[in-house]
Structure formats: structure tokens, C-alpha cells
């Protein structure tokens, strides 16, 4: 207990007295976390955008012949619902379809009034929760009696899936790479601070300090530096990101038909990731770089 208190106190004192080195370490960790943060934000936003893009293609429309009864449609619905990857299936009357049409036509909807008869077919709307199963569902639906047509959007869905998958994998690869780079950079920076105090460590050993007694303050110091760096970088990223959301948030909604992740939500998540990440980078960095000084 007293050793922990001592280590904490010493760490604060040492960070302050070795300001130059501490600031250098904080800068390099912050820089790494900043780049990491940019990719994190990118990944989160791409994730959101692809999610909402996927939403648009997760329904399969099964057009029915006019003579198909509601009963046989209901039979189809129950067998569809039992299939893998199907979230829901609902009957969609031609009147509902017309209503939907009107809404999407907006001000031009009056043109539809001239139609003597509703030309739209009754249909079943199948909502998928696993798009990879879409092809099977379409094949099966085509075999049902009373089905007029099932338009196949499979190719398009495949493409969307490939792209979102690629973007996510790329983002993860870049993030992993950056984490490795920051651990290396940090352990080198901490090594410099330890090297600068190699003599100090050897003196401590001469006076009879145990390894943990020596390591403690350095460890806490590394964690403290990591903690400060993560605070600084989260602060900077959020300041910039809030500005970006303010400036292009509305336009992004128009251009990409998806909104940006709100700043407040991102802060909490970024904080939850960066604080432990910064602290462990600092801790791992100091342990790695101290190892060779504490051999005997």
C-alpha cells in the first residue's frame, strides 16, 4: 500500500521534473492516437453509412398474380418466415403499394389519379436480416404457385456487401497497424527516458531497492503519460470533429443520404477506447523498455 502511494507520488513528481521528456512522450503518443482517431472516426462513419445502405436493399419484393388468394399468400408468408435469414414477411396489397407510390411521387401524385384501375400487383415484402441468404429465398419464392415475378437484386446486393466488407476490413487493418506502430514509437520514447535515467536506476539498485520498487514509479509514469496523451487526443479529435459535423453534417445527409455519427456519441466511445489504450501503451512501453535494466 505504501509502495503504491510512493509510486504514485514519485510518478507525478518525476513527470513534472522531467518535463521535456514527458512532453516529448506525450506528443508522440498523442500524434499516434490522433491518426488512430481519424481512422476510428472514418471506420465508424463508414460503418454507419454501409449499415444504412444495406437497410435499403434488405427487402425482397415478391409480386403475386391477381388471382392469387390471400390464403395462399399467407401460406407463402409462413413458409418464407421459417427460412434462414428472413426477418419478417408481410402481405402488401395493391392499394398499399399505390399509397406508397403516391408518397414517393409527392407533388406529382395527382398524375396517378387519372389511372382508371390500379395497375400494381399485390405483393409480399420479405425483410432479410442476413443478405447472404437472399439468393436462396428468391429461388424458393419463384417456385411458389401464384407468383408472378421476383425481381433479383442479388448482383447489386453482392456488390454492396463486397464494398462494405472491404472498407471495414481495410479500416481494421489500418487500425491494427497503427496500434503496433504506436506501441513501438512509445516504447522507444520511454526507452529514451529510461536510458536518460539508467544511472539513476543503477544507483537505486545499489541502495538496495527491489525491482518493483524501481519499476513502480516508472510504470505509473508511463501510464500517466499515456493517460494524458489520450485525454489530449480525444479532446483535439472531438474539437475538430464537432466542427466538421457542424459544417458538413447537413450536406453529408444530402450527398450520402446518411448522417454523420453525432459528436457526443463518438466522444464517449472514443474515450472508452483511447483511455485504456493510452494507459496500456504507456504501461507496456515502460515495462518493455525497463526490462534490460533490471536483469540482475
Amino acid at each position: 500500500m505504501r509502495t503504491i502511494k510512493y509510486a504514485l507520488k514519485q510518478a507525478f513528481v518525476q513527470v513534472f521534473r522531467n518535463r521535456t521528456m514527458s512532453i516529448a512522450s506525450i506528443f508522440s503518443i498523442t500524434a499516434m492516437l490522433l491518426i488512430l482517431g481519424l481512422f476510428f472516426i472514418l471506420a465508424v462513419n463508414v460503418g454507419l453509412a454501409t449499415e444504412s445502405a444495406k437497410d435499403k436493399f434488405d427487402t425482397i419484393q415478391i409480386y403475386l398474380l391477381d388471382e392469387t388468394t390471400v390464403e395462399s399468400a399467407n401460406d407463402m408468408i409462413s413458409s418464407l418466415k421459417s427460412m434462414n435469414g428472413v426477418d419478417d414477411a408481410v402481405y402488401f396489397t395493391k392499394e398499399q403499394a399505390m399509397e406508397e407510390f403516391r408518397v414517393s411521387w409527392g407533388e406529382q401524385a395527382y398524375l396517378l389519379d387519372t389511372l382508371a384501375e390500379n395497375p400494381l400487383p399485390n405483393s409480399i415484402k420479405v425483410t432479410m436480416n442476413d443478405l447472404t441468404q437472399a439468393e436462396t429465398v428468391i429461388q424458393v419464392a419463384r417456385t411458389f404457385a401464384g407468383v408472378e415475378d421476383v425481381p433479383d437484386s442479388q448482383e447489386f446486393i453482392d456488390q454492396v456487401l463486397r464494398i462494405t466488407d472491404g472498407i471495414q476490413k481495410g479500416a481494421i487493418a489500418i487500425i491494427v497497424f497503427l496500434v503496433i506502430v504506436s506501441v513501438v514509437v512509445v516504447s522507444n520514447t520511454v526507452k529514451l527516458t529510461v536510458l536518460a535515467r539508467e544511472r539513476e536506476i543503477s544507483i537505486m539498485k545499489y541502495v538496495g531497492a527491489t525491482n518493483w520498487f524501481i519499476r513502480g514509479p516508472f510504470l505509473v509514469e508511463g501510464m500517466l503519460i499515456g493517460c494524458l496523451s489520450s485525454l489530449v487526443s480525444v479532446g483535439l479529435i472531438m474539437a475538430v470533429y464537432t466542427k466538421i459535423v457542424e459544417l458538413v453534417g447537413q450536406r453529408a445527409l444530402l450527398l450520402l443520404s446518411t448522417s454523420l455519427v453525432p459528436a457526443g456519441f463518438l466522444t464517449t466511445h472514443l474515450f472508452g477506447v483511447f483511455l485504456p489504450l493510452g494507459i496500456s501503451i504507456g504501461a507496456i512501453g515502460s515495462i518493455i523498455s525497463m526490462r534490460r535494466f533490471l536483469d540482475t
Binding site: R2, T3, Y6, Q14, R17, N18, R197, R199, E200, I203, M204, K205, Y206, V207, G208, A209, T210, F213, T296
Partner: protein, 229 residues
């Protein structure tokens, strides 16, 4: 207090110390003399377990140093206070903190530390320097801090490796007086030195090492070089 029984340490073909036998009793004040490279450093490094002996037995305060585990080394080093020619103070710590460091290691309470450190500093005559950093002090003052740090936990043995090597004669003599005072309080002192005048003037036990062998051991003696060995 310290006993070497047939201790040998070689560095490759070079002899560090060979078949060394010596007994240093509690309360002794021993000068360790001899030319450079004779084995004095080996002697001290063996006591502190900085290096391991090839053969033989080394007892320090009843502990067989050759047998203890690495984890017990810090404990051994606390039994022995150390003073060096180059002081080895922690440069980023104040005088007070340098001395307090040794106490914090042994987990004394802050209250005890705040009480005892000023006492020892005043005993060493450097009370007014408590808040200074080592580089703000003169060489003599730095050595006083180092001695304060070495004795604050009342070690059984104080090992001084040429403590006066960087000091002018007057300051050196003041340091010797301090060491003598510490010795009077019951601490065994082993001091490595080249300073013939100091050895002659102190008139204490003198152990001479040459080419890895203990060639002289006189209870009240002077600095002698056995060139013929």
C-alpha cells in the same frame, strides 16, 4: 560480520581474487589498500553480490552471499550502506529526498522519515542544504549526503569505495572524521582507498590486496606495498 572463506573469482584467465580468507569483525574499521586492478573492487563487488564467486563462501551478517537468490540481493544491500568516490546521488531528487529514498525503500512511515532525515542531515552538518539538488552542492557536501543516505537505515556495514578520491585534503579529512564517528556508533566500516596519508593518520586495521591475493593484514598499521610479492 564479513567473512571470506577460500574465495576465488576469475575473469577468464585474469585473477580477480584467489583463495582469499579474511574475517572482519563487528565494529572494525578496515582500510583495503593495494594498487589499481589488484582485486579491491572484486572484493567489494563480491560482498554486494554484484558478481558471483567461482568458489568459496562469503558470509555477510550471517548470510551466505554466494547462496542467496536474486530476490534477496536488495535485502543484502540494505544491510550494507554504500559510499562511492563519485557520490552517486539521484540527480533529480533533492538532498532530503535522496536520503528519504533509502527509508522509503524499507517502508518507513512518512512521519518517521520527516523526523529522522533532518536528524541525520544535521549530524552530517548539511541541514541547510535539505532542499538543494546534488548539482548545487560542493563535492564535500555531496559526499556527506551520500553518507547520510548510506547510514540512515543503520546498516551493519558501511562500504566506502574511495570516498575521498574526489575531495581536497581538508574536505577528505572532514569526511574521515564523519566515518570515524559512524564507526564509533557500532557500524563496521570497510574503506577502499589509495590515500596513503589518510591511512597512516587514522591508524586502523589495514588489509593489503595485490594481484588477487591478500598479502597484508595489520591491526594498527600504515599503507604498505609489497612490491616483491
Amino acid at each position: 560480520m564479513i567473512e571470506f572463506i577460500d574465495v576465488t573469482k576469475k575473469y577468464g584467465d585474469n585473477i580477480g581474487l584467489e583463495h582469499a580468507n579474511i574475517k572482519i569483525n563487528k565494529g572494525d574499521f578496515v582500510f583495503l589498500v593495494g594498487p589499481s586492478g589488484a582485486g579491491k573492487s572484486t572484493f567489494i563487488k563480491l560482498i554486494l553480490r554484484e558478481i558471483q564467486a567461482d568458489s568459496g563462501k562469503i558470509l555477510v551478517d550471517g548470510m551466505d552471499v554466494t547462496k542467496i537468490s536474486n530476490r534477496q540481493v536488495p535485502e543484502l544491500r540494505r544491510t550494507c550502506g554504500m559510499v562511492f568516490q563519485d557520490f552517486r546521488l539521484l540527480p533529480k531528487k533533492t538532498v532530503f529526498e535522496n536520503v528519504a529514498f533509502a527509508m522509503e525503500m524499507v517502508k518507513f512511515s512518512q512521519r518517521t522519515i520527516r523526523r529522522q532525515v533532518p536528524q541525520i542531515l544535521s549530524m552530517m552538518g548539511i541541514s541547510s542544504k535539505a532542499d538543494k539538488y546534488p548539482d548545487e552542492l560542493s563535492a564535500g557536501e555531496q559526499q556527506r549526503v551520500a553518507i547520510a543516505r548510506a547510514v540512515i537505515n543503520n546498516p551493519k556495514v558501511l562500504i566506502a569505495d574511495e570516498p575521498t578520491g574526489n575531495l581536497d585534503p581538508d574536505t577528505a579529512w572532514e569526511i574521515m572524521k564523519l566515518l570515524e564517528m559512524i564507526n564509533r556508533r557500532g557500524t563496521t566500516i570497510v574503506m577502499v582507498t589509495h590515500a596513503k596519508d589518510i591511512v597512516d593518520r587514522m591508524n586502523k586495521r589495514v588489509v593489503t590486496i595485490e594481484k588477487g591475493h591478500i598479502v597484508g593484514d595489520v591491526t594498527e598499521g600504515a599503507y604498505v606495498i609489497h612490491e616483491n610479492y
